[in-house]
Symmetry: C2
DNA sequence: ATGAAAGCGCTAACAC
DNA sequence: GTGTTAGCGCTTTCAT
């Protein structure tokens, strides 16, 4: 185990100074061609790779990018992670994934460990903080907030979704189809996204000339179970005829509640999902949903990471909003 | 940017030696209690974290675990990655995800970069090598092969799926339902998994007393497009009445081909999927499929990583096989 | 209880 | 074109 291949071990092996080896393997010009060849060949034979630790210690950037997601089961997060991973591969970034389960303690722990390895950036979907107002520390690396924004998190940039129009249109669409009891299940008001989506739903009701019914509005820390339970209650006891989902996990949870009851979306109840998992188009003839620009989000995010290194000051790049689309099926 | 908090900077700040700081922050007993308190408080204030690079350079294990997957869109891989990430979180491992797109060059690149950061282990779904017979180098870290095995890859352990019975039973089940033209789309014979699944299909045919028809058997590097195209051909021109899928991506591809044609699995054609995405139960009344023990696979894998560190020699832990189940819907 | 020195792998800055 | 030195942050060893 002690036999790690280093420039020194190669140097000794070749009977030269380790600096010559270093120069040769770093493409420095001042090395005799024969020497360089010998070194390169030997290095290849021995399977030499530069120690990332040593480079980091000298102050070189690590190329490590952290990605903090609530989970990765959700097809939206999975697609995002996939796109990010591909983009990172292309840009020679190392992607470190941490799952936070939307818990602020796990989130802070993940950020600390990213600081330990001197990650250059953390891309994160902030967890709801439940009003605890704790300062989140992430000194030394760039932080990009994804989808949601949390106050007290000193992020240098944010990549967000503009779903106002889509959600508003969803309400209108159901209203035009004759629905009067249109419910909304959203992510609660700890987070920017939760507030915005609820506002969009309300704007839709207003436009449709419908009154707001507190019984038909649910907001909580978003999760599959939460979506399932609220949707179940809405159809079991509140006679909702339409449900609009304001979150990817909520959407799958709500769908699950309906399917478990043998209800077909589109026939027995109108459901507008959130996010567009590949299978939504196959559910009972197609599920209406708010499509999110996942790949664009990932691209913007990586662009943000790269921009940072090149021309951070030039374009002020603070918050980018990408538009969601209502898909009617 | 130069203001990283180190034991030295804390020491200077407090007017003491950096060694005392080191001892205090490493829980060494020989530190005066007052001194220790002052140091700990100051470290917390400044947001000090130990440099992973420095520790790695001293030979401490990095706690970095690499995960190499073809992609992470696939619900099977996503669920596996999710389970691994959670298990890593619990065990204080850092999970680095690399997507290989099933390409051997990307795979090798990922392994090299894991060696650079001195990862303690790489968990990988080996890419098909197309017979190139290249030696894959991963010196210095433990390698765990997942699902598939490739010769010429010096892995210390393998966590595999035993799906022989499930696939065999799938054929029998279709045969008993009266099907005579039962097709198989599998992953080709580069990989152990491809060979095994094809063998299971053949065993099923034999048991059912059906003859093998080369036109109904497809084997290739597994992918969504591949599954979709072969399934399309099978129903369009080969009059297959039943299709058995031997791979997660293949399964989704095949399903897609059928849905695109407006065919309902179970009514217009018998499809046995591979893997159990959450939505299979909702597809036209429920899709029959081979359920994979994802969480158990992840647990076994992490157990393998931990075992290694504690009692590697004790239990010989080489290959573990976990059983798949046929789900009839 | 505290400090000083050395070394892990690497490269910038000097010799020569 | 090549070699020597020093230092990045940390802990182990050996003083004090």
């Amino acid at each position: 185990m002690s036999n790690r291949v280093t420039i020194k071990s190669i140097a000794k092996d070749l009977g030269i100074s380790h600096m010559t080896v270093s120069r040769a393997l770093s493409g420095h010009p001042n090395v005799h061609n024969d020497t360089r060849d010998r070194i390169e060949r030997r290095a290849r034979e021995l399977g030499y790779v530069k120690s990332a630790a040593a480079r980091a210690m000298r102050g070189e950037a690590t190329q490590i990018v952290g990605l903090l997601l609530p989970n990765i089961l959700n097809e939206f997060y999975a697609r995002f992670a996939n796109a990010m991973a591909l983009a990172c591969e292309r840009n020679s970034f190392h992607l470190m994934i941490h799952l936070t389960s939307d818990e602020i303690a796990l989130e802070q722990r993940a950020l600390d460990r990213l600081r330990e390895v001197q990650a250059i950036a953390a891309v994160m979907v902030p967890a709801p903080d439940g009003g605890s107002k704790q300062e989140t520390k992430a000194v030394g690396m760039k932080v990009v907030q994804l989808i949601r924004q949390r106050p007290g998190l000193d992020a240098q940039a944010a990549v967000l979704i503009d779903d106002h129009t889509a959600i508003c249109d969803a309400v209108l669409h159901l209203a035009q189809a004759g629905h009067r009891k249109i419910a909304f299940i959203g992510g609660g008001c700890d987070l920017s996204s939760g507030r915005d989506r609820l506002a969009a739903y309300r704007a839709g009701l207003l436009k449709a000339g419908l009154a707001e019914d507190p019984e038909l509005i649910h907001g909580d820390a978003p999760s599959f179970a939460m979506g399932r339970d609220h949707a179940g209650e809405l159809v079991d006891t509140k006679q909702a005829t339409g449900i609009i989902c304001g979150g990817v996990e909520i959407s799958n949870g709500a769908l699950s509640a309906l399917m478990d009851r043998g209800m077909q979306p589109g026939r027995d109840i109108a459901l507008v999902g959130y996010g567009d998992p590949s299978f939504y188009k196959w559910i009972s003839g197609g599920l209406a949903t708010v499509r999110l620009p996942v790949e664009e989000l990932a691209e913007e995010t990586v662009a943000e990471l790269i921009t940072d290194r090149e021309t951070r000051a030039k374009r002020g790049s603070k918050r980018r909003k990408l538009e969601a689309t209502l898909i009617i099926r």
